[in-house]
């Protein structure tokens, strides 16, 4: 055993705590499961006619819109995780952990395990609801697993951003205040229409440079296209890229926050 103790034990214990406290606050968990589904129902009800547009990639708006629920769910999970970490800073719990031989990596990975667990359950629920409502992913059974996997990967990447912001600001309120900003990012994407059908130039430009579009399109391609290599590479590549950058930044912020010698 190193002087820090085994990393696996530290990560698993911190992950357990993260999951426990996530699910012991139903008031926080409920919206992340059901708000995305409610928005999906509203969008499908109001925008079904969009699927009649020439060039629309599917004749079911539900198939098209389902991918967005994964992103919205990931955002909820991220905000919860960021707020939890910020609360640990505010209450001094982080100092308590800092006085143990805990490794910095264990704290981040353990914290993100809660996000992953929540995202896994959310993705399973969204997909199940979608399938019950008639969605038949073109990519088949393997594609279903990949949809869930990409959904979790996106949540992990967003979670790392939440951890970075929590460690930089040390304020739960600041994280909550950033939630609407994140939401704007989601709406300025190809969530409601394919990019090639957006006629307003500035909006099409924004959706084209917004990475969220490619994360949605990665998941969407598995549902409505099948195996679109380009969409998958962009989706997975961006999720891994954003996650890597955010994790590195969070690690740096944690070192600054835990200025222990």
């Amino acid at each position: 055993m190193s002087e820090h103790g085994p990393l696996f034990v530290q990560v698993s214990q911190l992950a357990r705590r993260s999951v426990l406290r996530t699910f012991r606050r139903p008031i926080n968990v409920f919206p992340s499961f059901f708000f995305p589904l409610m928005l999906l129902a509203v969008n499908v009800g109001g925008l079904q006619a969009a699927s009649n547009l020439r060039g629309f990639p599917t004749d079911s708006y539900l198939d098209f819109a389902l991918a967005f629920t994964f992103l919205q769910g990931a955002l909820f999970a991220t905000t919860n995780a960021g707020t939890d970490l910020a609360r640990d800073i505010e209450t001094g719990f982080l100092n308590r952990l800092a006085l143990t031989p805990m490794r910095n990596a264990a704290l981040l990975l353990g914290q993100l395990a809660g996000v992953v667990t929540l995202a896994l359950l959310q993705a399973t629920l969204y997909l199940t609801v979608g399938i019950v409502a008639g969605v038949r992913p073109e990519s088949g059974v393997l594609g279903v697993f990949l949809i869930v996997f990409l959904g979790v990967l996106v949540a992990l990447a967003f979670g790392a951003i939440g951890a970075f912001l929590a460690l930089r600001t040390g304020s739960g309120e600041a994280i909550q205040a950033l939630f609407p900003l994140f939401f704007v990012f989601l709406f300025l994407s190809s969530m409601n229409l394919p990019r090639n059908l957006i006629e307003i130039d500035w909006f099409r430009t924004v959706t084209t440079i917004n990475p969220v579009s490619y994360l949605i399109e990665g998941i969407r391609s598995l549902i409505i296209t099948g195996w679109d290599l380009q969409a998958l590479l962009l989706g997975f590549g961006l999720a891994i890229g954003i996650g890597s950058v955010a994790l590195t930044a969070a690690g740096w912020a944690l070192r600054g926050r835990l200025a222990r010698s």
Binding site: M1, E3, H4, G5, P6, V9, Q10, Q13, L14, R16, R17, L20, R21, R24, R25, D88, I89, T91, G92, F93, N95, R96, L97, A98, L99, T100, P101, M102, G170, G256, R257, L258, A259, R260, S261
Partner: protein, 330 residues
């Protein structure tokens, strides 16, 4: 868990952004097995000192060794040797007491069976067995503090830092915590560094006391020695007729220097010690002054603080409240 090195700090200082000097180059030495009371008002530099000694905050200058290890270069070894219950019990309201202990012991690298055994033993020691599986959000302030202490003891540290451990506790919880801290030092040889703003706490618990004000240690010694240094008792008198207050003050000031006391009366430190009390009574009688209250006060640590700083410790924190920034690294 007996400590052989204690704590030693030399010229330890911490400056925050904006040039605020929270701790101004203090020297202190705590012997192994000793309970050292670090007494001072809010904002005096107590918590900043504890954060430096526990490796949570790097000193701006100076050195400190805890359990024989340098806090700047051997942080890992320092943390392995110490336990700390910092200001405000830092607990997760959604976890149970037992879950807290399991997490703490796991992070300290204990094997699974040892974690279980140690957690149970600590829960029993701090009297939380029945509440062990309840969420901490249902605990009282005293229960939280006891759990905090148990967590600090999880890995059997040789040095224990307690930052204002009884603030906000009811007398019963406070006395129970005092008894446990005293037992740890007496029976297990644990060195205890205790910060407090309560005179009684320092007086009852500490083998030696350091008094800090504006980031500087202004007095240090055993409570008895510090009080003996001040030496003289004070006498407080309250006249029957409030209009006699000026005359009463004139008489009492013949016997010593006025010190803060009841606003309804006059208090002076007796130059002649307690032997002067009889002369005070005779002088009041000779002047025809009748008093409703006459009391001799033995010197207290507050008198020591007053003598060293010119202010009473009670309420001194109010004016300093904003001067000690939260010791969170940038």
């Amino acid at each position: 868990m007996r400590d052989e090195h204690g704590i030693r700090a030399e010229a330890l200082a911490r400056e925050f952004k904006g040039g605020i000097r929270a701790v101004c180059g203090i020297d202190l030495e705590v012997a192994p097995g000793e309970i050292y009371g670090f007494l001072g008002p809010n904002g005096a530099g107590k918590s900043t000192t504890v954060h430096m000694l526990t490796t949570l905050l790097p000193p701006s200058s100076g050195t400190a060794r805890v359990a024989g290890f340098d806090v700047t270069t051997e942080g890992q070894q320092v943390r392995a040797a110490i336990g700390a219950a910092l200001q405000e019990a830092a607990l997760d309201p959604l976890l149970t007491g037992r879950e807290h202990l399991r997490l703490q012991t796991a992070l300290h690298g204990m094997p699974r069976a040892e974690r279980k055994r140690r957690s149970q033993a600590l829960l029993e020691r701090v009297g939380l067995t029945e509440a062990a599986d309840r969420k901490v959000q249902t605990y009282s302030g005293g229960m939280k503090r006891r759990l905090d202490l148990a967590l600090a003891l999880a890995h059997e540290p040789s040095i224990l830092f307690l930052d204002e451990p009884t603030t906000g506790l009811d007398p019963q919880s406070r006395n129970a915590l005092w008894a446990e801290v005293a037992r740890l030092a007496r029976d297990e040889g644990v060195t205890v560094f205790l910060t407090t703003q309560y005179l009684e706490e320092a007086d009852v618990l500490a083998d030696r006391v350091g008094i800090i004000d504006h980031g500087t240690i202004v007095a240090e010694g055993t409570p008895a020695a510090l009080k003996a240094e001040i030496g003289r008792p004070s006498v407080e008198a309250i006249p029957v007729e409030p209009s006699d207050l000026v005359a009463l003050a004139r008489v009492l000031e013949r016997f010593g220097v006025p010190v803060p006391g009841s606003p309804k009366g006059v208090t002076v430190r007796l130059d002649g010690g307690e032997d002067a009390l009889a002369d005070v009574v005779r002088a009041l009688d000779a002047e025809g002054l009748h008093v409703s209250h006459l009391q001799l006060h033995a010197p207290t640590l507050d008198d020591v603080f007053l003598a060293k700083t010119g202010r009473s410790l009670e309420g001194a924190g109010d004016e300093l409240e904003e001067t000690e920034p939260e010791p969170v690294p940038a």
